[in-house]
């Protein structure tokens, strides 16, 4: 009885959560006429796959894709590298002021982006970085509190004996990080890389503030541009939205195990 009810609720609720995706995908392959009928057409008469190519051609989406890719790839590499370095520093050394510094690091997570947005704009303006991709890439090379925290947790689960053995063999601190700990925290790095990838890929406000020129736009900005027009092109919006959703979804399916393990792993032992 409880089981049936649970199933019923799970099926109903998950359908609610997935429906918007399905609806967007179906909208993307409909014809203009099918879009504006009531009651809505669920299953398109003929699937117009050419909608994707046609929508892609309506703006320089190739350029946007290149910009998005540049930002995402370069900032993800920086984020993974710098956050793991800092996490290692906090996890494996004793030094004066370490604990207060770590508390400070955690506290920075509470600072709203709005507070930093305006002075950062001025700062990047001063550096001549406005309308370049640098403001979206460079800060990622200095680590992010949440990711540092996450990786530090990872390193802390690794027994100290491994470090001691490596030290015995003459490894210095850098080798200890690069040869021993980095390979050991690969699951954590995948997680950080994925979360950062998704944030960077979906980011709208950052590009909106720091980029002016259409040739510098990222994909989300290009998609947003459809909105401002007088005749709202719903098929193009749906098609580009579907394309924009694709990389995070594909990535998610590959790394799903890591995300769930990280969140739920600590409880498996029971």
């Amino acid at each position: 009885m409880v089981r049936t009810l649970t199933y019923g609720a799970l099926i109903f609720l998950s359908a609610l959560f997935v429906a918007p995706f399905v609806w967007t995908l179906l909208t993307a392959v409909k014809s203009e006429a099918e879009l504006v009928t009531w009651p809505p057409v669920f299953w398109p008469e003929d699937w117009r796959w050419e909608n994707f190519a046609e929508s892609w051609a309506k703006q320089p989406f190739g350029t946007y894709l290149w910009n998005s890719t540049t930002v995402v790839v370069l900032s993800t590499i920086g984020q993974v590298f710098s956050s793991s370095l800092v996490a290692f520093g906090f996890a494996r050394f004793r030094f004066r002021g370490r604990d207060p510094l770590f508390v400070l690091l955690l506290a920075t997570m509470m600072i709203p982006w709005d507070v930093k947005m305006i002075p950062l704009y001025m700062e990047f303006n001063l550096l001549g970085w406005i309308n370049t991709l640098k403001p979206l890439i460079v800060p990622a090379w200095f680590g992010e509190a949440f990711f540092i925290f996450l990786l530090r947790q990872y390193i802390m689960t690794i027994p100290m004996e491994i470090d001691e053995a490596a030290r015995m063999d003459g490894a210095n601190a850098w080798q200890l990080y690069w040869r021993i700990h980095l390979p050991l925290m690969v699951p954590g790095l995948v997680l950080v890389g994925t979360f950062h990838f998704m944030n960077a890929w979906n980011d709208y406000l950052g590009p909106l503030i720091f980029l002016n020129d259409q040739t510098k736009y990222t994909l989300p900005l290009g998609l947003g541009l459809f909105q401002g027009r007088h005749d709202v092109d719903n098929i193009a919006i749906a098609a580009i939205t579907a394309i924009l959703c694709l990389p995070p979804l594909v990535l998610f399916f590959f790394v799903q195990r890591y995300i769930m393990d990280n969140a739920l792993g600590s409880s498996v032992k029971g």
Binding site: R3, T6, A9, L10, L13, F17, P20, F21, W23, T24, V36, T37, W38, S82, L85, V86, G89, F93, F95, R98, L104, L105, I111, P112, D114, V115, K116, M117, I118, P119, L120, Y121, M122, E123, P139, W141, F142, G143, I148, M168, A173, Y177, N202, Y204, L205, P220, L223, G224, N234, I237, A238, T241, L244, C245, P248, Q256, I259, M260, S267, G270
Partner: protein, 306 residues
């Protein structure tokens, strides 16, 4: 053995750790502390993007508190949003987590379904919902019409627009749900066994076991939801542009407009500091009063701490 290690670590007295954490230290000064101090200075100035800057003490702050009705309106809208969104976000995440915690087949599939929307944020999320909310062709109003309800003009009616934003935001509750699910799975099964043996009904198990054991996670998600509710900007910016008739003109949007539309950087900076102080105060208050209801595992529970 230990001697050798001590000697080698003595040779480099504490430089190595600083080298490792140096990226964050540098980043903290360049992209956090520096900008924040700068922003505080800006907030004391009349600071147009181009033209003369003038030091005006606390004028920006007194202006917004005493002469700017829009400041209070936008703050009210953000407060209204937070007041509905935060409890709903936690309650719904809790409900889903409890359902997923029942041992049935295919849980991982359902878990994925609930988590999926949270990896889509920003523009894509807005575009998906915009079409669903469409008054004439939207999926939502079609669904409501099947139930015999005449759906409202979600994005065009000031009475419904904020609810539309709340629903779209709730769609991304996957992260919160996952934290609560992890919390649920870490509650020892023996507690429920013992309760069942003693004949404690299911609802009482929820109230006296599940919620207290989950309270640290509930507190954490409460604070993070609160912070994100106050920063709510992207969805409103794209879904409703603050309208209709300013019914979704959030506080963060007013800051954004002041900075990048009206080019009044000083005023915008001052407003952003007000937002920071509000978030800080609320978080500290929640943390302070949480001691009464948050239960930490392993904490010695001395009686009579009331």
């Amino acid at each position: 053995m230990t001697d050798a290690r001590r000697i080698s670590s003595r040779r480099l007295p504490g430089l190595a750790p600083w080298l490792f954490i140096s990226p964050w230290i540098l980043g903290f000064f360049l992209f956090t502390l520096g900008p924040m101090i700068f922003s505080l200075i800006m907030s004391l100035h009349d600071w147009p993007v181009v033209g003369e800057r003038k030091f005006i003490w606390f004028d920006n702050y007194t202006t917004m508190l005493t002469q700017d009705p829009r400041f209070w309106e936008s703050l009210g809208i953000t407060a209204k949003f937070a007041l509905v969104f935060v409890p709903l976000n936690i309650a719904l995440s809790f409900l889903l987590a409890v359902l997923l915690n029942v041992k049935v087949r295919g849980t991982s599939l359902f878990r994925t379904a609930f988590y999926l929307p949270s990896i889509i944020s920003g523009v894509a999320l807005v575009m998906i919902w915009k079409w669903i909310y469409s008054k004439d062709y939207g999926l939502l109003n079609y669904g409501l019409s099947l139930l015999g309800v005449d759906g409202p003009n979600w994005l065009g009616d000031p009475n419904w627009s904020i609810l539309a934003i709340i629903i779209a935001s709730l769609w991304g509750l996957g992260g919160t749900m996952l934290i609560l699910l992890a919390g649920l799975q870490s509650i020892p099964k023996e507690l429920y066994e013992a309760a069942r043996v003693s004949g404690v009904p299911a609802w009482a198990q929820t109230v006296y076991i599940t919620i207290p054991m989950l309270s640290p996670m509930l507190l954490f998600t409460f604070i993070t939801s609160l912070i994100s509710a106050f920063q709510q900007l992207t969805i409103a910016l794209l879904l409703t542009k603050g309208g209709p008739t300013n019914s979704t003109y959030f506080f963060a949007m007013y800051i954004y407009d002041n900075a990048f539309k009206f080019h009044d950087m000083g005023y915008a900076a001052a407003m952003s500091w007000v937002m920071f102080l509000i978030i800080l105060t609320l978080s500290v208050l929640v943390l302070k009063y949480s001691a009464a209801w948050v239960h930490y595992e392993g904490e010695a529970k001395g009686g009579g701490n009331g």
